[in-house]
């Protein structure tokens, strides 16, 4: 820092130099998400004689905590970040191991939770996404000149293999796909040769096929894929949720049925609507207008992320920003795609919108990282 900035801290306050468009788009998504989570849970809480605002309140608290963390992360300088990266990586791996230990808990068929007591649960796989972006970016940023060689790439693969394998054991196929996609994006942006990328893609397909063959995946995950291939397969069973989701969105029409007026939503036709299927609330109650606005906000976030990546001052920043954009883009596409019936049901939340503390914190951490890259981009 220069002496000038020390003398006039107000004008040069990092807060004012943040990417405000990104910050506002994220805040708008969180605000919209809060309303959708509220609508998705209000009626079922009332029916159960519970507080209709309980989910809304927890969602807002999660977001508030996340925003504080994001601000903190944004202010961490690059050297500290690189120093912390191995710790973040090791910490998330430890969390993933803990999930597989007796501390782990199964919720909705996925064994991906650690119960910390007092009703507080953590999903380490969400933080693994942040850790993997940081870890791979750090490794690849070290090679200053030219594309990464076999040694760097091998190290990246070895580093990624650990969390990916641990998540696969849960098993959480959706998160595995996100992690693989992030590694591919980071490697690609680092300039890895095309044959490596192609080879990795083939290897990924082989691993997935092997996982199916060896029975690593639970039948419920396979059934979800079968139901995706043929939604009419079992309208009362596996295909039920996707079918109901499409009915909810389709029946919303252009302007929707009005907030809190969704018959599919209030009739509880879509299980777990506040998490993986939160987009259906937007589709049904706010219609094409609201749902496309939500997609537009996601688009703004991704656009700002890409903008930050291209203006990053160093390879590390560019890789981190690019990895985060890849993560959100892939996860948003899979999540919204499954509610629209063009992707299989994989159990991925919609960034910033779905209910769920771990995902919210991880996503806002990533926002902090983007802002950090942005702040240092012009140094």
């Amino acid at each position: 820092m220069t002496a000038t900035t020390l003398r006039e801290p107000r004008r040069d306050s990092p807060l004012l130099r943040l990417d405000l468009v990104l910050a506002l788009a994220v805040l708008a998504l969180i605000g919209l998400g809060s309303i959708l989570v509220w609508s998705a849970t209000r009626q079922r809480q009332l029916d159960a004689g519970l507080d209709p605002q309980a989910f809304l309140r927890r969602h807002v608290v999660n977001a508030a905590i996340g925003l504080v963390i994001a601000a903190g992360v944004a202010l961490v300088d690059r050297r500290s970040l690189q120093a912390y990266a191995p710790l973040v990586y090791l910490g998330s791996c430890a969390g993933l191991v803990a999930v597989l230990s007796p501390l782990g808990k199964t919720i909705n068929g996925a064994h991906s939770w650690i119960v910390l007591g007092a009703g507080f649960q953590v999903q380490p796989s969400e933080f693994a996404k942040v850790a993997l972006v940081l870890g791979t970016a750090m490794l690849l940023a070290e090679s200053r000149d030219g594309p990464p060689g076999t040694r760097e790439i091998s190290m990246v693969l070895a580093l990624s293999a650990v969390p990916i394998a641990l998540v696969l054991l849960q098993p959480d196929l959706g998160t595995v796909l996100v992690l693989v996609f992030v590694v591919l994006v980071v490697l690609s942006l680092a300039g890895a040769p095309g044959r490596w990328l192609g080879g990795l893609l083939v290897a990924g397909v082989v691993v997935c096929a092997g996982a199916v063959q060896l029975g690593v995946l639970d039948t419920y995950q396979l059934n979800r894929f079968a139901a995706f291939a043929d939604p009419t397969l079992d309208p009362r069973g596996v295909g039920y949720t996707t079918n109901q989701a499409r009915i909810a969105i389709g029946s919303g029409g252009l302007t929707g049925k009005g907030l809190f007026q969704g018959t599919q939503t209030n009739g509880r036709f879509i299980p777990e609507q506040q998490t993986d299927f939160v987009f259906t609330v937007a589709g049904e109650e706010l219609g094409l207008v609201g749902a496309s606005a939500l997609l537009a906000l996601l688009g703004v976030v991704l656009w700002r992320g890409l903008r930050i990546a291209s203006r990053a001052g160093d390879p590390f920043g560019r890789l981190v920003a690019g990895g985060i954009v890849g993560w959100w883009a892939f996860q948003s596409f899979v999540n919204v795609g499954m509610t629209l019936g063009i992707m299989p049901v994989t159990g991925l939340p919609l960034p910033f919108v779905s209910y769920g503390g771990s995902a919210m914190l991880a996503n806002l951490c990533a926002v902090g990282l983007l802002q950090s890259v942005h702040l240092r981009g012009r140094e």
Binding site: D47, V185, S188, L189, A190, G191, Q244, R246, I247, A248, I249, G250, S251, G252, G253, L254, T263, Q264, N266, G267, R268, F269, G283, G287, L288, A291, S292, L295, L298, G299, L302, W303, L306, A309, S310, R318, G322, V325, G326, A329, F330, S332, F333, V336, G337, L340, G341, I342
Partner: protein
């Protein structure tokens, strides 16, 4: 490396545009379809069944009503959701209702494919009724109470009050009334059964079937708003049920009683009588009486023996019960002989033979004809080989000479070319039989009516076409002969036809329309049992009498036939003994049908009073011996009960007005 970043930008844009595109498709062009799906999703219809209409006789006497019963039902889908597929529940239920658990399990299986009766024909999601108890049946109510008091032991079992059919007159007119059965999956949603709920009961036989649409009314529906788990969240409105209409029959319950009693008595008496030719006692396995208004076709009584108790169908007949009802060895009580039984008409057919012989111009009405014991050209004998000398046509009918009719038929057959038939043979007797409606349904408002058979040239040809392949492989001389020219209408076929023997078959109801045409001066009527349908709002739809055709017989010739038939019951006639001292002046014709391998079919076809016939009565007893000894006395008993002193139908006419009790 900016090119790689550019690829990522393009990828992100492409993914977002894909989502947006799909979103637009779902929410703009497909929106209407999904809106309907969302509406269907959250509404459930609760059906309030319409009370089924009552059936009353011509005087308003109730024949079918509804009563309240407690019905125990089992939901198969709920049983299958239990760990042992509901076996424990079925075992407990078996103890309560006294039906083996295996039998209960069979009853609730959905029909279809390889699954045969017993099985459930209704919707697989609908509870299946397995037992029912009258609201006045104390022991039955205690059983239901055991289920209701221990609901936790009977998940998937429910009990509710339901309206079931009740028969205040007992077994009276069981065949006419018919019974109900659950609608099949194939029938649900068809035009005929529009608005009928799956597994609902619909008419399966009798007037319950023919007047089903009027009787069933329209079920009420309440559209309920529900959530995913089926909890009710509101109502979208109710359509109240429209009760079924009341069906007024032409049938007279008292006349029906007279007919059924006469039939039963005649059958029982016949079974103590020796059969002709020392072939043991008569079996008298079945019989029928048709009583019809001669000028309108309104059916006053329709008796069929053996009969059955219609209450076996209330709540569904068990497979064993149903098997008994159609068992030939038990006389197949379910078969409605009057419309579903076809028999050789024997000498009752001679009214048509005589009319055809005279009407063709071949034989003068006033002529006298030789009645030898044997007709030479065919070697066929008279009944009991009697020779009556030279007699007029009236005597030929009164004494039922066969050989005169053999001659008429044979000579007419020769005129048609004999064994080398001319191009368009006249076949006067066949042609007239068809003009009298034989071989065709009468159009009565009862289901499953039989056509009967006219054994004419076409019939022989059809039979030959169907059987020649098999017969030509046979080695017996009979088979070989048939193979050569079995399709030929021979002289013997013509002579057999003339006296109503051979393959020609008629239903008792067909014969009633033939004799009505003779009695009323030539109108071939469409018989009917429905008199009127009275809707719950009081609107009356009367079922008008209908004339199908006029028979091509000169009125003078019909007059001659009436006069001749009147002589049959007078001294010297074949039914003289049966009608000795009869208070009613009856005209009729006896018939004794010879059936291969069985005893004779006993017929008496008649109308009365002779001066101005109002009623036609046809009596038939299968394996009942001669017409004069069994059917004629039976028919006399009917006339005595209807038109005799203290008779239930004085004047032979049904009430002209609808019963006041059905008009509101």
């Amino acid at each position: 490396m900016n090119s790689r970043l550019f690829v990522l930008k393009v990828l992100v844009a492409a993914l977002l545009m894909t989502l947006l595109g799909r979103l637009v498709v779902l929410q703009i062009p497909d929106a209407a379809q999904y809106e309907r799906a969302a509406t269907d999703n959250r509404t459930r219809s609760v059906v309030e069944p319409a009370p089924r209409g009552e059936v009353v006789d011509a005087r308003g006497t109730p024949l079918v009503r509804n009563r309240t019963a407690l019905v125990v039902s089992v939901s198969r889908s709920q049983l299958l959701g239990q760990p042992d597929d509901g076996k424990a529940v079925l075992n407990r239920l078996s103890d309560v209702v006294g039906v083996p658990a295996a039998e209960l399990a069979r009853q609730i299986r959905p029909c279809g494919g390889a699954v045969t009766q017993p099985c459930w024909r209704g919707s697989p999601y609908q509870p299946v009724p397995v037992a029912q108890y009258s609201a006045t049946d104390a022991a039955g109510l205690r059983r239901v109470l055991r289920i209701e008091e221990h609901r936790e032991d009977f998940p998937g079992v429910s009990s509710q009050y339901a309206a079931v059919r009740d028969y205040p007159a007992g077994t009276l007119a069981a065949h006419v009334l018919g019974y109900l059965g659950p609608i099949s999956n194939d029938e649900t949603g068809t035009e005929q059964y529009a608005g009928v709920q799956p597994s609902a009961l619909v008419g399966r036989s009798g007037v319950e079937a023919t007047y089903d649409e009027a009787l069933r009314g329209r079920d009420g529906v309440e559209r309920l708003l529900v959530d995913r788990v089926g909890s009710v969240t509101g109502s979208r409105g109710t359509t109240p049920p429209v009760p079924g209409s009341t069906l007024v029959l032409t049938l007279d319950a008292k006349a029906q009683q007279v007919a059924e009693r006469a039939l039963r008595t005649a059958v029982e008496k016949a079974r103590t009588t020796e059969a002709r030719g020392g072939r043991g006692l008569l079996r008298a396995d079945s019989g029928s009486i048709v009583v019809m208004e001669a000028k309108t076709g309104r059916l006053v009584a329709l008796a069929s023996y053996p009969s059955y108790d219609p209450t076996v169908f209330v709540g569904g007949a068990s497979p064993a019960q149903y098997a008994q009802l159609v068992d030939e060895d038990r006389g197949a009580p379910l078969v409605f002989r009057a419309v579903q039984g076809a028999y050789a008409p024997a000498s009752t057919f001679k009214v048509i033979s005589a009319a055809a012989a005279v009407g063709s111009g071949d034989y003068p009405l006033g002529g006298r004809y030789e009645c030898p014991s044997v007709y030479g050209p065919t070697g066929q004998k008279n009944f009991d080989s009697a020779a009556l000398g030279t007699i007029d046509l009236r005597t030929a009918l009164v004494k039922s000479c066969d050989t005169i009719f053999y001659r008429f038929a044979y000579e007419q057959w020769l005129r048609d070319g004999g064994n080398r038939p001319v191009d368009k043979p006249r076949d006067p007797m066949v042609t007239l039989a068809k003009a009298f409606g034989l071989g065709e349904r009468t159009g009565v408002d009862l289901p499953s009516e039989r056509r009967g058979t006219i054994a004419d040239r076409g019939y022989l040809q059809r039979l030959y076409d169907q059987t020649k392949t098999a017969r030509c492989k046979g080695s017996s001389p009979v088979d070989r002969e048939y193979c050569v020219d079995g399709n030929r209408f021979r002289g013997g076929d013509a002579t057999n036809f003339a006296i109503g023997q051979g393959d020609t078959l008629v239903t008792p109801l067909q014969l009633a329309t033939v004799y009505a045409a003779v009695a009323n001066g030539g109108a071939l009527l469409e018989p009917h049992v429905g008199r009127a349908v009275v809707a719950p709002d009081g609107v009356v739809s009367e079922i008008a009498p209908r004339v199908r055709a006029r028979v091509p017989v000169d009125p003078n010739l019909l007059g001659f036939l009436r006069d001749a038939l009147a002589g049959v019951t007078q001294p010297g006639g074949t039914a003289a003994a049966a009608f000795a001292g009869s208070p009613v002046d009856v005209a009729g014709k006896t018939g004794t049908g010879e059936v291969a391998g069985k005893q004779d079919t006993s017929w008496f076809a008649s109308f009365a009073p002779v001066a101005d016939p109002t009623l036609v009565v046809i009596g038939m007893v299968s394996q009942g011996g001669t017409g004069g000894t069994v059917a004629a006395p039976m028919v006399r008993e009917v006339y005595d009960g209807l038109l005799g002193p203290g008779g239930v139908l004085p004047g032979g006419r049904l009430p002209a007005e609808l019963p006041g009790s059905v008009l509101r």
